[in-house]
């Protein structure tokens, strides 16, 4: 790799050839603020926050898109630079609602912190503010265009990472805004509710549709029995909301905290992840054995499901008919558990805690319930759970760890792996191998399925069959794969795991704001550590799951399973 030298703020520094000025400066530990920069994507140069002074250039230079050059002389904090950055922030503030005190993103808002950091203390520019209605049509995401700074990150994430393009810029000049096709509600758009835009948004313009108040109301209601389930990725990320290092697993503390604020039972969604493996593994085995539609595709990620229904309805038969772990839990809580405890299902409020905004949409799907009630009543994101803890004044870090409740508290670490890309694959391979051959894998760790790569491939020998499997995360990657298959390629694949968000649920749209790639990596490693140290690493060895089959469900793919644990998909006709 060629290096070059350049000067920044009077210091001689080295940089990699081909790096941008921004990369070079940040490598050298010089901080440069940005609003629109997304690591790994082409710079758009929209926010102009990263401008620096370069010797010989007439205007200020956007460091995000300008390549560093040998001998370049840069000033990253000259008065002219600081004045420009401050003016830009002031201009944004001049068109921003002054309601930080009421804003869900206060304290985690890039605009707010930049204004603080740059020392904006005076209101120099005033004038008309753009006023547009909030879009509260989506069950997952609330858009508040007034708080939008038009950095375009959501647009690029939606288009370039997710391949969805539900939103884009509309209009010109100061009247431009980000909106859906024909400026309709998000609910009738092609949005798949993944919430990646929410995580990318520097301000409060995009936030999850909050169910915190609903849950508080339920918890305060003496007539109802409130049950929680928490997804595998939540326990390894919520710690960040309380100032702990990314990757800390606070599973037990979280369970304790949930009990403190009034949840009558706390279940682990990883339990139903194990259950999913039983059903889905059996389904795959069945399809392979009976010439069913292949490749089979996982169905636990609700964004992905809506994506297929919207953009690739022809692939619906490829989707596993299994409900997601959340919905399986929802279904058995209001049936098996209710019966076991002698509870009226109508009196049960089932709350799930998910790293995901699309889960809110999934829980609300009409087919996900019985007797005119939804199986899962409210979905809280990781962020909302943290808020719930703060509102109720419960600090998990001060508690003693507690175990989840029976009968859905036991889980294998395979179920826990569902939280990261490749995790479903890894769990499935472990169990399918057993289901098809009756033998366990020598080493349950499937290295090829691990890591943050957007697309991973593995071939596993299962008896006589060479099983081809692909793991993709992000819908951009999924789209690429589907196009290949559509074009007649990839006949070698039997099984595809798709997670909507890049990296899987650990990087979900409901996760703590502001996580860098390192933090996501740490969350992933935490899952792997849990798996390494777990006494129970195989879904089909989960005794509680087996008991559930024995006592209630019968067998995988059986009659009860069919009714409770499997679903169907619909084609969606939206403006896409």
């Amino acid at each position: 790799m060629n290096t070059l030298t350049f000067e920044a703020n009077g210091r001689q520094l080295e940089a990699k050839q081909g790096d941008t000025v921004l990369e070079a400066l940040r490598c050298a530990g010089i901080s440069v603020p940005t609003l629109c920069h997304i690591e790994g994507l082409n710079p758009t140069g929209a926010c102009r926050m990263c401008v620096v002074e370069v010797d010989g250039a007439r205007n200020l230079v956007p460091s995000c898109s300008f390549p560093v050059a040998q001998g370049m002389k840069i000033k990253s904090n000259s008065p002219r630079v600081l004045q420009a950055r401050r003016t830009i922030i002031e201009l944004l503030l001049a068109n921003h609602p002054d309601d930080c005190l009421y804003c869900g993103r206060s304290g985690r808002c890039d605009l707010q912190s930049l204004a603080q950091d740059l020392g904006v203390r005076q209101r120099r520019y005033r004038g008309l503010k753009t006023e547009r209605d909030q879009d509260v049509s989506s069950p997952s995401i609330v858009r508040d265009p007034d708080k939008c700074v038009l950095c375009g990150k959501c647009v690029r994430i939606c288009e370039e990472i997710q391949g969805v393009s539900a939103i884009d810029f509309i209009g010109r000049g100061s009247r431009s805004f980000v909106g859906t096709a024909f400026d309709k509600g998000l609910n009738v758009s092609s949005c798949i509710n993944c919430g990646q835009c929410v995580v990318a948004c520097p301000t409060g313009a995009l936030q999850e549709r909050s169910n915190v108040e609903d849950v508080l109301r339920a918890l305060a209601d003496p007539d109802v029995f409130v049950v929680a389930q928490h997804a595998p990725a939540v326990s390894v990320s919520i710690a960040e909301e309380f100032g702990l290092a990314p990757g800390a697993d606070v599973d037990g503390l979280m369970v304790a905290a949930l009990r403190r604020i009034g949840f009558k039972r706390v279940f682990d969604t990883s339990f139903t992840a194990d259950l999913t493996i039983m059903e889905e593994g059996s389904e795959l085995a069945h399809r392979v054995a009976n010439g069913g539609v292949l490749p089979m595709m996982t169905s636990c990620s609700p964004g992905w499901i809506k994506f297929v229904e919207t953009f690739y309805p022809e692939f619906r038969p490829n989707l596993s008919t299994c409900k997601s772990p959340q919905q399986m839990m929802g279904a058995i809580v209001k049936t098996y558990f209710a019966g076991r405890e002698g509870l009226d299902p109508k009196k049960i409020v089932s709350v799930s805690i998910m790293p995901c905004t699309a889960k809110k949409f999934e829980a609300a799907r009409p087919e996900m319930g019985r007797d005119s009630a939804q199986d899962v009543d409210f979905v809280l994101t990781t962020r909302e759970l943290a808020e719930l803890f703060r509102i109720t004044g419960v600090d998990p870090s001060t508690l003693q760890a507690e175990a989840a409740d029976t009968p859905f508290g036991e889980r294998s670490s395979a179920g826990k792996l569902f939280g990261a890309t490749g995790g479903v694959m890894e769990a499935a391979v472990r169990s399918v191998h057993f289901l098809l051959t009756g033998r366990e894998l020598e080493d349950p760790t499937i290295a090829a399925a691990r890591g943050l790569d957007g697309s991973k491939e593995l071939h596993v020998r299962v008896g006589d069959l060479e099983v081809g499997a692909v793991v993709v995360s992000s819908l951009g990657q999924a789209r690429k794969l589907l196009e290949e298959i559509k074009a007649g390629g990839r006949k070698d694949i039997h099984f595809i795991e798709v997670m909507t968000c890049p990296g899987g649920c650990i990087n979900g749209g409901g996760q703590p704001i502001g996580a860098a790639k390192d933090a996501v990596m740490a969350r992933m490693k935490a899952l792997y550590t849990i798996d390494r140290n777990a006494p129970l690493r195989l879904s089909h060895r989960n005794a509680s799951v087996q008991r559930l089959y024995d006592e209630f469900l019968g067998k995988p793919l059986g009659e009860k399973s069919h009714h409770l644990l499997h679903t169907h998909y619909q084609e969606r006709d939206v403006m896409a």
């Binding site: 102009r48 898109s65 420009a84 944004l92 884009d168 100061s174 009247r175």
Partner: protein, 829 residues
């Protein structure tokens, strides 16, 4: 511009592109053209088909092995798509938004391919350069800007259209010679070059050679060749506002400085042009703060915006701020739009144009309704000299009248309507309210009984002060009686008008001359609390030639006063008048009416078009038989025995323009000629009589110095106004000075701060329009009323009033021609 090239000669562009593609090895070419130009697209399509037919385009062109395909991409007209990266994204079918460079188009352009992107005009030049050679092309234009440039010449210029000139051609050539100058005799003010991203070049730089460097050094750009000519009715703040409005709605909205910044700049400009009445919340604060931030903001946008559009977006503001800061300040501090263009500060332009703020629209409306007494009251409320002004005012109201501002329309004949009103209503019909005397009352001396002095005295008397006017001559009226001849202003009219101004608080002492009969010190010692000096400019400037004291050479004002005040006929035989102003014209016409005068010739150093005298006066004088010699200057006095025998003149030509943009006359060597004369009247200019102003500070032009806001001279309690401070000026200007001085003197004697906050005067009284309202779309344009004059044969040798009054029907018709700009501001009650 490009459209005309495409529509007129698409082959030229195609040829240029084929040559260019061959040179750089391109296999695909795209012409990006607005879909709104269907003819251009049709022509290009035809051209491409023809080129393909003849094997000049397509595969293996002329057997060369080189292939090129040219396609047309129709874009929806977006200003930002003129920016190359935005244009390329538009070609790709994406939203036309720029992306940062690098990568440059040559590295990664359309669809990620290396691309070369050029303007139509550039491509159109290629075949010519290839055919004739680079040297030929480089031979045209200026040192650094080669070739020619097509400009779209529009705005306040007689010949609009596309103009192709070599680089280096002066702006003056383009505007004056090619464009035929500004219409309706208005003054060229500035040229906006380079469209909304460009800047303005003020009149002082009209001789700038138009090339990239010179234009850029003035903060404008050549750009696509937009050249908007603006005259003095264009407000530069309004212009900046217009462009900011355009830019902020055409900004693509991508980068923050351009999207948010241009909008705030526009808002700041809005606050400057909005009257306080319409301000709400903290607008006034914003206005003051805004101007402070305007420049900062502009600089930030310029240095941080993503693309060329944003980086040049503040140019209209920066360049108008650079050259016309005074206009910004007038809007900001005085709440006044000097060009009379910002509607909300101007109200009705006629009222705004009147130095005394007469509600012109209001009395015109009354005339249209037949309410002449009401009309008179409106006039008289603002102006104590309706009758004089109805005859001799230079009517700036008509100049600002919107009926004459656009198209071929003519302004309302406002002065003619005023004349009609004063002929219907006697001055005595107006009874002003006099504030009763009280503790606030003071005694005030006004020196000079001309329009400024009488107005100040009258206004002060109405405020309850005891005012004494000291007039040197035996008749009051100043220049109105001394200089303006009776055929323009009948004496009985003037006398009646002056008489109507008198009341128990105001007396006039005649034959009382400052310096001779009394002094300022004496007046103050006598107990006058304030003195207003309005002694005018009565000292004619002379030629500064030997022998100019010869008998027969007369200063213009002395000549006029001798006749007007004393009936002395001083002109004899062949009369020459030197000068081109109103005094010269009056002198010429008065001389022509005197017994024993054979002929009268005026000698003027510039051309007739540049004569400061009113056009109608010049017309009337010529009609009566006066001749004018233009472009001549006196060089010697010929005399015999101390008596004038004639003059020696030299012919002038107009030189290159000076810093003010005026072309100075310069003598043509060897063109001297002699003229025999019996009388020479010198009426080139006048100044105050210095001797009377002893002990007071003077300006560098030799006029009396007075604070422009308080009208206070260098001496406490002594105020001044009118011609003594300005030099020879207009009647209405003197009346305005008197009115303003009265306000300040009143504040002075009552112990108030000598400062008033400027107020925007907007029409506030609703007057029902008269007559049938015509449908605007079908109404025929009505011609301006023509004013009847006494036939030449009945007026040349007497002092009967030359200008006659129009008929009632004509007056009503003319009044109803008014566009009633006031209605925009008033509501029916």
């Amino acid at each position: 511009m490009n459209r005309s090239e495409i529509e007129g000669n698409p082959h030229l562009i195609l040829e240029g592109m084929i040559v260019g593609a061959y040179a750089i090895g391109a296999s695909k070419a795209v012409i990006y053209c607005r879909a709104e130009y269907p003819l251009a697209i049709a022509q290009l399509t035809r051209g491409i088909a023809q080129a393909k037919e003849r094997g000049l385009l397509g595969d293996d062109i002329l057997g060369s092995g080189f292939s090129l395909d040219i396609v047309i991409k129709q874009g929806a007209g977006a200003f930002v798509c003129g920016e190359e990266t935005a244009l390329m994204h538009s070609i790709e079918g994406k939203r036309g938004m720029p992306t940062p460079r690098p990568p440059f188009p040559a590295q990664s352009g359309v669809f990620g391919m290396p691309s070369n992107i050029n303007n139509v005009e550039t491509w159109a030049n290629v075949p010519l350069i290839i055919n004739r050679g680079a040297d030929w092309f480089a031979g045209i234009g200026s040192e650094k800007s080669k070739g020619t440039k097509v400009f779209s010449l529009v705005g306040c210029v007689n010949n609009t259209g596309l103009v192709e000139v070599p680089f280096g051609t002066s702006l003056r050539t383009i505007i004056e010679d090619i464009g035929g100058g500004t219409p309706r005799g208005r003054k060229f003010k500035a040229a906006q070059m380079g469209g909304p991203s460009g800047g303005c070049i003020p009149a002082a730089y009209i001789d700038t050679p138009v090339d990239y460097e010179s234009v850029q050094s003035l903060g404008a750009i050549v750009g696509s060749g937009g050249l908007v000519v603006m005259d003095d009715s264009t407000c530069m703040v309004d212009l900046a506002k217009y462009f900011m409005e355009f830019i902020q709605s055409e900004s693509c909205g991508k980068c923050i400085p351009c999207r948010e910044g241009t909008r705030r700049m526009k808002e700041i400009l809005d606050t400057l042009t909005r009257p306080r009445r319409k301000e709400h919340d903290i607008d006034a604060l914003l206005r003051m703060q805004g101007l402070m931030h305007l420049k900062d903001l502009a600089e930030t946008i310029k240095s941080t915006a993503l693309c060329g559009l944003g980086q040049t977006a503040p140019n209209p503001v920066l360049s108008t701020l650079r050259f016309f800061r005074d206009e910004y300040e007038a809007h900001l501090y005085e709440r006044r739009c000097p060009a009379g263009s910002c509607k909300e500060l101007v109200g009705a332009p006629c009222q705004n144009g009147c130095p005394v703020g007469t509600e012109v629209w209001r009395y015109v409306a009354h005339v249209g309704r037949g309410e002449y007494a009401d009309a008179y009251r409106v006039i008289r409320d603002a102006n104590p000299f309706p009758s004089a002004c109805a005859r001799v005012c230079h009517h700036p109201c008509e100049r600002s009248c919107r009926a004459g501002a656009s198209g071929s329309g003519e302004p309302i004949a406002i002065r003619t309507l005023k004349r009609f009103v004063v002929d219907q209503v006697a001055p005595t019909a107006y009874r002003p309210k006099i504030r009763p005397s009280g503790p606030h009352s003071s005694t005030i001396a006004v020196v000079g009984g001309g329009p400024a002095g009488l107005t100040a005295a009258h206004c002060l008397s109405l405020l309850g002060h005891k005012v004494t006017v000291f007039e040197r001559e035996a008749k009051p009226g100043g220049m109105l009686v001394g200089a303006i001849p009776a055929y323009r202003l009948p004496r009985e009219r003037l006398e009646a008008e002056i008489a109507s101004l008198l009341n128990e608080n105001m007396e006039i002492k005649l034959n009382a001359a400052l310096g001779r009969d009394f002094t300022v010190d004496g007046l103050l010692a006598e107990g006058y609390k304030a003195v207003y000096l309005a002694i005018g400019s009565h000292q004619s400037k002379m030629l500064d030639l030997p022998n100019e004291d010869a008998h027969g050479i007369l200063p213009g004002i002395s000549f006029l006063k001798a006749y007007n005040l004393h009936g002395d006929h001083l002109a004899k035989g062949r009369v020459g008048v030197i000068g081109g102003g109103n005094s010269a014209m009056d002198a010429a016409r008065v001389a022509f009416r005197q017994d024993g005068v054979e002929n009268v010739t005026m000698y003027y150093r510039r051309t007739r078009d540049e004569m400061p005298a009113y056009a109608e006066e010049i017309e009337a004088g010529l009609a009566e038989g006066i001749s004018i010699q233009e472009l001549v200057a006196p060089v010697a006095v010929n005399s015999k025995d101390g008596r004038l025998t004639g003059m020696r003149f030299v012919r002038n030509r107009l030189s290159e323009p000076d810093a003010s943009g005026r072309r100075k006359p310069e003598p043509i060597p060897g063109s001297e000629f002699e003229v025999e004369l019996d009388t020479l009247i010198v009426a080139i200019s006048e100044g105050p009589e210095m001797a009377q102003l002893e002990g007071l500070s003077l300006t560098k032009w030799g006029t009396l110095a007075a604070n422009p806001e308080s009208f206070l001279t260098s001496r406490k309690g002594v105020f001044a106004g009118g011609d003594v401070t300005t030099g020879p000026s207009t009647v209405i200007g003197a009346i305005a000075a008197g009115k303003q001085a009265a306000v300040m003197i009143d504040r002075f004697v009552t112990g108030k701060l000598l400062k008033i906050v400027p107020k925007v005067k907007l029409p506030s009284v609703f007057i029902e329009p008269a007559g049938d309202l015509e449908d605007e779309s079908t109404a025929q344009p009505a011609a301006r009323v023509t004013v009847p004059h006494l036939p030449v044969e009945r007026r040349t040798r007497n002092f009967d009033e030359v200008e006659l009054c129009v008929s009632e029907a004509a007056a009503c018709g003319e009044a109803r021609r008014c566009m009633r700009c006031d209605l925009e501001f008033t509501q029916p009650v």
